[in-house]
Each structure stands twice: as structure tokens, then as C-alpha cells.
Symmetry: C2
Subunit: 361 residues, 2 copies
């Protein structure tokens, strides 16, 4: 059909723009890195041998990823005239979070201010959100709640919590080279696959708008991973984690797949739940909760802080930093696979929903 052909052209253009964004990110990071070093926006890599750990690594390179992402998304606007209302609202939310993250990198804001502002950052999207506000109830809960629940304003509140959770859970699932950027990349890949699978479904326009954000996000984040993977040449900064968390939350809201997103965020969720006792100060919380580097073995060891990193070191034994980030990446991939299993396999959906493909209620 003609409409489908038009969609393909749009996706193709977005893909080409994103490729250019990937190249631009690769070109800009080494340049902006020097600006960051010159202005003292840098940190030590605490998990390295003593001789290298005095070297300063430039921080906050998320601003390059975020800026190039914005350039791509803004230049693409003329191709989606009919979506601009939500599109611009989404942009405002993401941009606000990028700005907030960068301000945090530079000024070290208080966490109470950050939580307040991240609630606020999602507001433009919530106000412009025109999609459904009901939740289709998984089968086991239907005797209690019925087929679907109209949440109305509570759905907006639910979306706000999604946004705050995503931004902060990515930010605290960190501490070793490349983890922040790689987890974001993997989740984004899973989202892209999900979007393409749902392009035949009833919410195709919602998933289409998600694609237009996730393609440039994937492209620019790939550029970052190239420099941020072990051993890191650059650090990502809160400018990246906040930007990334908000982008993923925003596309899930626009695409109406926030429950699927939470499944993709399983590692972050586990890390968050593990962290709760320390976040709330029930157990002492030091400034850094990273694993302990053992200079004798060159391996990371469990630092007894409540994080998923330490849980992995506890379960599978001390290991090299790169091995740990690979293991955590594999875990992320497994969780994404699980999400798809829950979402698409007939066996699973028969337990939770009526049919394998998304149908309009």
C-alpha cells in the first residue's frame, strides 16, 4: 500500500541521517574530549593499575551524543509534519534531561533537586500525550481487575514514575568501564526490534515515532561505546545517563510499550532493588559503591556494597574488569530475550494475554 511505502521512505531517511550522526559522533568526541580535559571536566579511572590511574579521563562526553542526537532528530522534523506536537514535546523532555545531566556533571547538584527536575522534565510529554490511558490486565489478575483498567490521570503519574525510574536506574547501574553506554545500546536495540515487529500491529504510528527517536539514539550511542568500552578513553557523565534514560522512557511512552520497557530494564530493576537499603541509608552508603580493584591480581573483587556488579562478583568470583562488563552485557541480552519471550511466545502470552500479537482492546 502507498502508506506503507511512505513509512519505508521515512524510516530509510531517518536511518541515513542516523548514519551521518554516527560518523559525526565518532569525529566530534575526540575534539570535545580535549575541551573537557582543558577545563578540568575529567576524572580518574579508579579500577586501573597505579601507573595508569593517575591519568585523567575526560568526562561528560554525553553532551556530544546528546547534541548530535538532537541535530539528527531536529533535521528530520520536516519529514514528519503530522507528528510534530508529540515529537516536540518528546524533544523538550529529552533536552531538559540532557541539560540537567550536564549541569549535574559540572556543578554536582543535590539528588533531591535532580529527582524534582526529572519529574518536571517528563511533564511536556505527558501534557501532549494523546494515546490511550488504559492498561490491558494480564490474565492472572483479571478476576480482580477486569479486562482492562482505565487509569486516566493515574496513567500520567505512572508514566512520570517510568521516566524517573529509567533515568536514575541507568545512572546508578555503573562503576566500570563501558557499562552505562553498553546497557543503553542493548536496550535500544531490543526496542528497535520490538518497534519493527509491531509495525504491522494496530499501534503502528506509535511505534513508528519511536523508531524515529531510537535510530539516532542507537547511532550516536554506538559512537560513544566505541570510546567508552574498556579501557575507556572517555567517560559518559550524568549528561549521558540522564539523556539516555529519558530517551528510552520517552520512546516507550510514545510507543505505548512501557510494560515491555520495564521487562527490558530487568538488570537495572534488580540493581535498583538491591541498592534500596543503601539509597535509603538503612545500610551505610559510601560515596563510591564500585567493586574493589585488587592490584595484585588485576581483578575486581566484591566491595560488599549492594549492587548487581558486586552480586556478580560474589556469584561468579573476582574477575577482570572487561570480563565483568561482558558478563553484565550478556545478562542484559538474556533479559531482553526474556522480555521478548514474555511478550511474543504463545505459551507465555497465553498465560498473560489473549493472543500473541497486540490487538486493540
Amino acid at each position: 500500500r502507498e502508506e506503507r511505502g511512505e513509512r519505508r521512505v521515512q524510516i530509510l531517511i531517518s536511518g541515513l541521517f542516523s548514519l551521518a550522526g554516527f560518523a559525526l559522533t565518532l569525529k566530534l568526541i575526540p575534539i570535545v574530549k580535549e575541551f573537557c580535559l582543558r577545563k578540568g571536566l575529567c576524572g580518574r579511572d579508579i579500577n586501573k593499575e597505579l601507573n595508569t590511574n593517575t591519568e585523567k579521563i575526560p568526562e561528560s562526553l554525553g553532551i556530544v551524543v546528546g547534541t548530535v542526537f538532537l541535530v539528527v532528530v531536529i533535521l528530520f522534523q520536516p519529514f514528519v509534519p503530522e507528528m510534530l506536537r508529540e515529537y516536540n514535546a518528546a524533544l523538550t523532555s529529552i533536552l531538559f534531561m540532557l541539560f540537567l545531566g550536564f549541569a549535574d556533571d559540572v556543578l554536582d547538584l543535590r539528588w533531591s533537586i535532580k529527582i524534582c527536575l526529572s519529574f518536571l522534565a517528563i511533564l511536556p510529554l505527558l501534557v501532549s500525550y494523546s494515546g490511550p490511558t488504559n492498561i490491558i490486565v494480564p490474565k492472572p489478575f483479571r478476576p480482580l481487575l477486569g479486562l482492562d483498567v482505565e487509569l486516566s490521570y493515574f496513567y500520567h503519574l505512572y508514566m512520570a514514575f517510568i521516566a524517573v525510574f529509567c533515568t536514575n536506574s541507568i545512572n546508578i547501574y555503573a562503576g566500570i568501564n563501558g557499562l552505562e553506554s553498553t546497557q543503553s545500546l542493548l536496550i535500544a536495540m531490543a526496542i528497535l526490534v520490538h518497534n519493527f515487529l509491531e509495525l504491522q500491529g494496530p499501534y503502528r504510528d506509535a511505534h513508528l515515532s519511536s523508531i524515529f527517536f531510537i535510530l539516532p539514539f542507537l547511532a550516536t550511542t554506538s559512537g560513544l561505546v566505541y570510546f567508552n568500552w574498556y579501557p575507556s578513553k572517555v567517560f559518559v557523565g550524568d549528561s549521558f545517563t540522564y539523556f539516555s534514560g529519558m530517551t528510552l522512557a520517552v520512546v516507550s511512552i510514545m510507543g505505548h510499550f512501557s510494560k515491555t520497557l520495564l521487562l527490558l530494564f530487568l538488570p537495572q530493576l534488580i540493581n535498583f532493588v538491591l541498592s534500596l537499603p543503601q539509597l535509603f541509608g538503612i545500610i551505610h552508603c559510601p560515596r563510591h559503591r564500585v567493586p574493589t580493584f585488587n592490584p595484585k591480581t588485576g581483578k575486581l573483587e566484591n566491595s560488599k556494597n549492594l549492587t548487581l556488579l558486586n552480586a556478580f562478583l560474589f556469584l561468579f568470583g573476582p574477575t577482570h574488569e572487561e570480563t565483568l562488563v561482558i558478563r553484565l552485557s550478556i545478562f542484559q541480552i538474556l533479559c531482553c530475550a526474556l522480555a521478548f519471550a514474555v511478550r511474543y511466545s504463545h505459551a507465555m502470552t497465553n498465560i498473560f494475554y489473549d493472543s500473541g500479537a497486540t490487538k486493540l482492546p
Copy 2:
């Protein structure tokens, strides 16, 4: 009429929100100031006596003004559901510029990058712009051009230049305490008056949306002037000048009064034209083009750089810093008065246009 009553309520709510924004700005600047000082985001005040000029003044407090402005404008969104498309586009443009300005404060970006990105920042508004793209020709030029000229895409290019001009001309019209913030405040006041006068006219909705941005801008900028006026407790930073220039450009585009805006920008235009030989390197351009402080007399003297500040010192003689900023503010007020004269007086409009009030072509 009922519609008019509804508009009044909206303006009242926007005014109340803005008042709260004013209070919040007054409260936050002293707090964030300490963060800036601690992180070395500060500068010396070069026009002061030696004993005070070693003191560090916190810089880049534009981020507080910008953030509070955003908070107010975002919280106000639910009250203007029908405007959100353009509203969010305008927000994106302003927010992008605020982010860019802050990045410049922290990293000292190259001017070529800044010009490119400020063109890009206005793009979201241009894409969403749905207003007229014609210019009503002033009478003297009508034999040549006709009654009005449909510019189509060239109108978009014209708007882009307005945005780049506004942001950069406010930024270079600087160098003494309080000038950046005060000029922005005075122009914003003139815009507000213009908007209210035009609320009876045919473009009332356009001017209404301008009011919803200019009220919070006025409120938060007033808070900044309080701390930035001579002797400055804080400096505004490029985060403020870029944010301010873009906001003024954006409201003039939304309100379709960009020609009037250029009249209000007369001092900035003069300063820009004066600066051209130095900006293009025809005459040597030092890093700072501020007037010279004479510690013996305590007065500022013409530093022979081509700026409006030095022109005033040349014309009216060396003077105290506060006197100079007062004189320049009076000049700004006179230019605004001139703009209103051109725009509204029957004698003037008879020369340029057909009637005293704006009529649809």
C-alpha cells in the same frame, strides 16, 4: 465575550506562575552561586579597584533563570492545550540555546560551532511555524515591491537570521555590570506592552502565545537583574545571553512581530554594525573589548575598541561604570519609544503603512 474572559484567566494564571518564578529565582541564585564558586565557574570583575578585583564573581547564573523559566512555562502547559504544537517547538528552540550557552560557559566553544548550532536551534520552531510568511511592504517601497510580498521559504530563512542575530547581538553588547540582563529586561517589557496593545487586533492569538513566554521571562530576568546590577554579585554567562536572545526571537516569530523586534533591538544593531570591522578581523580584535578602567579617577575610559560602550564614552566623556549602564539603559528605553512611535503614531504609520492599527492584509 466569553473567549475574552478565558484569555484573561489564562493571562492571570501565567502572571501568578511568573510571580512564583520571580520568587524562586531570587531564592535559587544565592544557592546555585555557591555551587558555581565551588566548581570554579567564576571570573574577575575587571572594571573594579584592585582590592576588590581579585574577588571571584560566580558566573553563568543564566542557568538558574533559564531553568526557572522552563519550570514556569512547562507547568503552564496544561492551560493552553490548543497551542502545544508551536509551544513545544518554541520551548525546544529556547532550551537548546540555553544548553548551548551553558556548554559554552563551561567549555569555551568555537564561534563557528556556536553559529551553526544557533541556526539549528531555531529549526524546530521554523518547522512548526504555521503563521503567515508574507511581509507587508512599507509604503515608500510599494511602487517597487507591491502591497505585500509572499516570501515562502525565504521567510523561514529570514526568521533563522533573526534568531541568530538576536542571540549573538545581545551576547556582544556586554562588558559592564548589569548590561546584558538590563537590556533583555527592557526589551521584554516593551514586547509585553506591544503584545497587550495588539490583543485587540487580528493576530491576537499570536500575541497571546507571546505573552505566555514573555511574562515568565520578565519575572525570572528581574530576579537576575537584582543580583547582576552594579556592583554585580553574579555574572550572567553566555547561558543567559543565548537563552535571552533566543527567547526574544522566538516570541517575535510566534507573535509575528519580527520587524517591530528589530526596532527594539536598535542599540544591539548599532553595536553589532560598529563591531563588524573587528568581528571580521579587518581591525585587530583583542580578547576583551571592554572600556578601560582608570584606577586614579575610578571611571571608565574609551578603550578605542569599536563598541557602543566606547562610543558613549567618546561622545559623553569618561564616566563611572554605574552611570554608563544607566545611560545605556536610557538609550534602550528611547529606542523602544522610537519603535512604538514608528509602529503606532498616525504620522509615522501614514508614511509607512495604511492605518495605525495592524489590519489583516
